[in-house]
Symmetry: C2
Subunit: 893 residues, 2 copies
């Protein structure tokens, strides 16, 4: 088969099929397929993508026997059509269209009405008895061929046309007669020869080869290359060329052309949806000079269109088209987007492909098609892009609303919010207290801003990345946040925000889209999340299929409730430090840190113990029966100390110490690289009393809840472990305190102690750590930071440069770097399980909510993933797809 370069189709037969996508391209394969199942397709043949590859590799040459095969194929087509290409009896015109494996709409070239010259145009006029149609087709061909094949810009033709209209006092193209077009054609020829230095080829065969070459060349034109880069389509794929007999939708009022979807692409409802133009060619629809008419009466009514529908105008053809619609859906088992032409009362199908749709429509189509028996649940699961679910899960901007973009930052916490600008947390509280909705804008946030963030509807920061304080806290609150909006500047003292040369003042309305990072002026309308029946049905199927468990990252009551609501199977990460950022806990925390004596420190810890115990009681109650993984204190202590002089003063007053003491302690705790400093279990080694308090709080809470006959499953997680001995020390601490508390209560509470794996060394030494650890949880945020040696907080400008230069093809903080960081994950799993075969392994970094990362975690053999509550459905669907073998190519490999 290696020297078969052309594949014929038409009249119920085809040499190819839909399965031959790689060889015939998308359009071609579907033309063959439709022909095979008896649809009325303009006959023709496909020149394969292999010819394109050959053409590119040889810089413009064709395989030796291609010419003969094309000639044969054209002859066969002439025989089928009973017409003749280039001769004058029943003249055959051709369309020459590109068609790559992946759809690249508008990127490559097409030539229609090919085969016309001064002689054949007369035959065409004679065949259809319509001179104007013939010369109009001729001049369209010359313009298109001149532009696409000969490189003469279309404005040259338009200039000539405008001059002609002016000279002859004509206004619209429609006003020109056949004679007019005939007069124009020599001028078109002239300008082509002038501009290109070559005469227009009049021989149809010459035209055909020039058009074929132009299509192949268009594969490597700039816009196509850019498009492929953008959508990650390999350059090596190449395009096929589809050559078909022309059919005409512009042969009078019993002719038409249109496009349609087999179901409503906005809602997914099983209704015929589309539009058409009478007496028109496809390009007229695109040109937008005429308003298209609806296909169905129902559609016309539903949209209040007062144009007559195809159903009314050509009921018979509408019925035929409706049959085609059902045939195609039954055959392809998916919603189709198709193009058709009616030539003097005869229906021709020009193209079919999978129809694009909204996520809401996609869910409904998938679920309904399962009930219709068209597809099975597995197929339905694989049809939905998990990331698209995000659109359903948050309050979002109304897609139809107008908006004025001020700038953008990082999409730090999804959802949309509008409110009045405030610049301090105190203002946020005060304004909210008097009933205003506010957006808090700050250079960056600190623990002092917690109350302001709670009050605000959304948070905007100029600095900080996806794991900055603002981002993490906002995600925890399920509150929209845009961080690191470096293009926007704020003056906190003057209470102004400046962007794009415009200055907003306190109280001005702005809107944040935390899902995209956009910042907009004024209030933009938003819509509530709607989790319809199709969504719920769909998610139960995902649950049936997946093997990866899905937990949520949650530490507040609200988060835990949301987690259960979204179907989380436990908490995979409760960050205890977030519990210290509120109100009086922060005061106690600061007292503890500033304590001059062990006694004073223990007193402060005692007060924190009460709060922590209550926090854990709430968590355990909400999550009863499900595991709750609690991570011991992780951030460096200085994060709890105030940074602003005013706050330092207030802290000093509250604690009854001098401001110098506060400053001195802050200086003492200062670290050049806090990310690499005294944090995580290093705090447990250097200040064991803090971890002891936390463990005591966990077990006192567990006992208190278990006494109420509720099942409590605490899993205690030690952060930032780098060594087996280090973990063993921490486990011994946990076991000792647990034994004490359980002894005091006289209870048994089953618990596990496990290790975060978030340092490269933890992966490398996983075997040693697994000797004592009952479970691992990969902290892929930190693991990515350490493996790349790149601080996410500082990375924003770098990420941009690295993306621009093509080093990063995907953000490694968003999608796990499989072959780098991922190798450490695999090593950690392998080394850990080699020592402890039943080691439970999870992941609790941001990557837990990223589908492509989830596919990887499934392959890596993890037991569970944990992500923010709002991403649980996304993670579940991703896990289900992973179980069905869905995978992706690592673009950063």
């Amino acid at each position: 088969m290696a020297d078969k370069w052309t594949y014929a189709f038409g009249v119920g037969k085809a040499e190819g099929s839909a399965a031959m996508l790689d060889l015939l391209g998308g359009k071609g394969a579907n033309l063959h397929e439709m022909s095979s199942i008896g649809l009325n397709i303009p006959p023709g043949f496909t020149i394969t993508t292999e010819v394109c590859s050959h053409f590119i590799q040889t810089q413009g040459e064709y395989p030796a026997d291609l010419e003969a095969q094309v000639s044969q194929a054209v002859q066969a087509l002439e025989a089928t059509m009973g017409a003749s290409f280039g001769a004058c009896e029943n003249v055959l015109l051709l369309s020459v269209r590109s068609g790559a494996r992946a759809s690249m709409p508008g990127m490559m070239d097409t030539v229609l009405n090919l085969g016309l010259n001064d002689k054949t145009v007369k035959c065409l006029a004679k065949t259809f008895g319509d001179e104007r149609f013939a010369y109009d087709s001729y001049r369209r061909f010359i313009q298109m061929f001149g532009d696409v094949v000969m490189g003469v810009d279309h404005y040259h033709f338009e200039d000539i046309l405008e001059d002609y209209k002016f000279d002859h006092a004509l206004k619209l193209d429609a006003d020109l007669s056949g004679e007019d077009w005939k007069n124009l054609i020599p001028r078109f020829y002239e300008v082509i020869e002038e501009e290109s230095g070559r005469p227009f080829p009049t021989h149809p065969k010459e035209q055909l080869w020039a058009a074929i070459g132009a299509v192949f060349k268009s594969w490597t034109n700039k816009r196509a290359r850019t498009y492929r880069k953008l959508y990650n389509i390999p350059d090596g794929w190449g395009t096929a060329v589809n050559i078909q007999a022309m059919v005409f939708g512009n042969l009078g009022n019993n002719s038409a052309t249109g496009v349609c979807f087999t179901r409503n692409p906005s809602t997914g409802h099983n209704e015929f949806y589309g539009e058409y133009l009478e007496n028109a060619q496809g390009e007229d629809v695109v040109a937008g000079l005429r308003t298209p008419q609806p296909l169905s009466l129902a559609h016309a009514k539903a949209t209040d269109m007062d144009l007559p529908s195809l159903e009314e105008r050509m009921p018979d053809l509408f019925a035929q088209l409706n049959t085609v619609r059902k045939t195609l859906e039954n055959h392809y088992k998916d919603m189709q987007d198709l193009e058709f032409t009616i030539e003097q009362g005869r229906l021709w199908i020009l193209q079919t492909r999978t129809g694009k749709r909204t996520i809401r429509a996609a869910l409904r189509v998938a679920v309904v098609m399962v009930t219709e028996g068209l597809i099975d649940k597995k197929e339905a699961i694989c049809r939905i892009d998990p990331t698209h679910l995000d659109q359903l899960l948050h309050r979002t901007l109304d897609p139809d609303a107008d908006c004025e973009i001020l700038g953008h930052g990082l999409p730090a916490s999804p959802g949309a919010a509008s409110g009045k600008l405030v610049f301090t947390s105190d203002d946020a509280e005060a304004w909210t207290a008097r009933g205003e909705e506010v957006i808090l804008a700050r250079l960056e946030t600190s623990p002092d801003d917690i109350k302001g963030m709670i009050s605000a509807k959304g948070v905007l920061t100029m600095r900080g990345g996806m794991t900055s304080h603002a981002a993490v806290v906002a995600r925890g609150m399920g509150k929209p946040c845009v961080s690191g909006a470096s293009g926007i500047s704020i003056d906190s003292a003057a209470k102004t925000l400046t962007a794009l040369g415009e200055t907003l003042v306190e109280g001005d309305l702005i809107t944040l889209n935390g899902g995209t990072g956009q910042v907009m002026k004024g209030r933009v309308a938003t819509v509530e999340p709607q989790l319809g029946g199709a969504f719920a049905t769909f998610m139960t199927w995902a649950d049936e299929i997946r093997t990866l468990k899905v937990r949520a990252n949650a530490e507040t009551l609200a988060d835990a409730v949301a987690a259960r609501a979204f179907g989380a199977e436990g908490i995979g990460l409760a960050r205890t430090e977030h519990m210290f950022f509120h109100d009086d806990r922060l005061t106690h925390m600061r007292s503890m840190i500033l304590a001059g004596t062990q006694a004073a420190r223990l007193e402060a810890l005692d007060k924190l113990l009460d709060h922590q115990r209550n926090d854990f009681v709430e968590l355990f109650e909400v999550m009863q029966g499900l595991p709750v993984t609690i991570r011991l204190l992780d951030p460096p202590l200085h994060e709890f100390l105030p940074t602003r002089l005013r706050d330092m003063k207030s802290v000093a007053e509250t604690l009854g110490v001098s401001i110098e003491d506060v400053q001195a302690r802050a200086a003492e705790l200062f670290e050049t690289n806090p990310m690499l400093g005294n944090r995580g279990c290093r705090l447990g080694i250097t200040y064991p009393e803090i971890y002891e308090m936390q463990v005591r709080a966990i077990f006192e809470a567990a006992c208190n809840v278990q006494i109420q006959d509720k099942v409590v499953l605490p899993e205690i997680m030690v952060p930032l472990v780098s060594d087996g001995r280090e973990f063993a020390l921490m486990k011994a601490l946990v076991d000792r305190v647990a034994k004490d508390v359980l002894g005091e209560y006289g209870l048994k509470v089953p618990y596990q102690v496990g290790s975060m794996i978030e340092l490269p060394r933890a992966s490398l030494k996983a075997g040693e750590i697994a000797k004592e650890a009952a479970f691992f949880s990969f902290g892929t945020n930190d693991l990515t930071q350490m493996t790349y040696g790149l601080s996410r907080d500082d990375a924003a400008p770098l990420l941009q440069a690295y993306t621009d230069k093509g080093v990063f093809r995907q953000d490694p903080f968003k999608t796990l770097d499989q072959t780098g960081v991922g190798e450490l994950v695999q090593m950690g799993v392998q080394y850990g399980r080699s020592v402890r075969p039943d080691l439970k392994v999870g992941i609790c970094g941001e990557h837990g909510g990223d589908p492509r990362s989830v596919f990887f975690f499934h392959k890596a053999g993890l037991d569970y993933i944990s992500c923010s509550p709002f991403r649980v459905p996304i993670a579940k669907l991703s896990a289900a797809q992973a179980a069905l073998g869905v995978d992706f190519e690592d673009e950063n490999a």
Copy 2:
């Protein structure tokens, strides 16, 4: 053999040998060996270390048949000696001594004169006709046994003795007669029974078993456990017990006891070196009440001793001892440290072991022994601890000088220096200008302190680690530095330094020992490095044997000259940023960073270009014929900006910008975690013009030097690479600029472009990087930081806590963490070479100068190591040992 617990030796025979070190312990094995080769050893037997293990495991029990074997061994000993243990005819006394596999001097227990009681003491008096000797031996035995075996502290006996002396108006022990000692013995018995609650065992066999048990128990006493922990001796080894017939050096003037070295342990000269006491037992030498006499006449003369030598007093015995000395050296092929006793004109050898010596002596002994044919070069190479060479390579404190320690910090840059305290760089310059020698003391240093550091003899900082600015710059300058001396506080404003409650003021003398981290008050005498002939000879042998190449880290002219002097085979790391920290370069660098426009930036870069070109010309000239690896700019730009307001003002003035501009730019460049920020090749991506300038400087310099017919071998190294595409971009930049410059000069300069491997991801993606990189250089400082997630600058307090808790058994920043960081090194080598089999691989972190790390790098298959010039000999010797198979146990594994 499993039930053989005792091994006999003596009179030219032995059941064991030196090879049975594990079973017989060091002392025992050598006694057997000496006996075999015919030396006169007091006969006896060894109870094996296996018995000790059994004793410890069973908590005090002996193997079933041990008693029978010991009885047999004692009987055999009685037969050999023609004496009787416990009987009265020719009484046999025993010594019971410990002897572990590794020497643990003074850690474990010994009992001498065992077998005495009220009856046998009389026989002893009779046998030797000396009652005073007998009763003196008896009371010594009771005191020693009472203390060691029965746990009665020695002061009880001393109190009784003092009372007795007072009552009898006696002053010295020597004043007591036999009768006096006889009178004291019942009182000793009394206090023992009082204190221990048990009577003193009078039966010799009972005494023997109690002493054996006490020796075994002493293996687990606290000081022995501490010692083992300190010297990393496994607890499981256990000790042997050596039981020998007693010989007496205190039987009159034809008796003596002494210790000697077969060569001079200070100089290594082949001369008999040692001292002895006439009419004394070993413990008298230790007690220090009498001044020992020299062995040889030559020694006596050389040291101006006016005591007669053994050579004069007992020429015959001196000759015998000298023969023993030669026999032992010929047999052991190393310098020995031996103990002997002369009993009434007969020479007995009590112990031999490898003699401790200074590094200078060790080198001379090794080299001379090769010329003497005693050992071969390989053996000589393995005999020297590479780290000891460091003592030879820097000006060091006179080991005999008194000193008053003020405190200590990290040994940041070796060498010793004294000078007057100054607290600012300006003062350092000013004082030096007027001829003072100063030590610069600062909280921490910044680029503004460079001139002060150049002026000062040494640098002391309160903050910062081994890679702090002060440490790195000082090492680069080969200048002593103690960093992070957190126990010392300074008040820069008041110009005072406070330590241990004492306050020093500006101008007070202090001394730094950069090799140990000690800070001393006043001036402490120092000695110049002396690289004698033995050192040079020795190093040529190391060079013959090693396969790892050794380069130096150097960027200044002085460093490069030192590197060549120490035999470096090229420069493995020239840190270009250090070149920017001086004077007007810093100004240009700051202009470049602060430049508002591209034009202004390029102008500043143009000025830097001139400086850099000159720097490289110097380097290439000094290093002609050898490769010079130049690392492109590595640190974040903000490191070049001033941090102090005063300096900011000065910079703003110099550059003609406002101080607000300087502050704003500094704020803009601020990073939360600079170690993980915009540095290394990220600068090359974000500010390509900087790297372009540097590459241009390199190639212009190379051309200028090559024109002089000198061979230039530049290797350009890209720092902080994490990805193959990233490296490819940088390589393209280098190649492009190189082509431009070489084109301008019309020259060809062979060069290579390689990658630092200092991020975990670089190791993981080494295969991708090696596609374009001609060489790798592991930056193990950063690799360790990233793999552990631990900033070396912030780690000092943590390292202490982690060492105390036993998590870190060696500092991973000093000795490579083989099984963690090392696995990444191995992966990097393997992945890289799998793509490029001839990939050149080196290492340029601090670990390059650490012997145990060098052993690992040899095993890992590296081609070269690079370290600071002063550590090149250490690295070379380590490499030679590695080639000979020397290895070490990774304690952190």
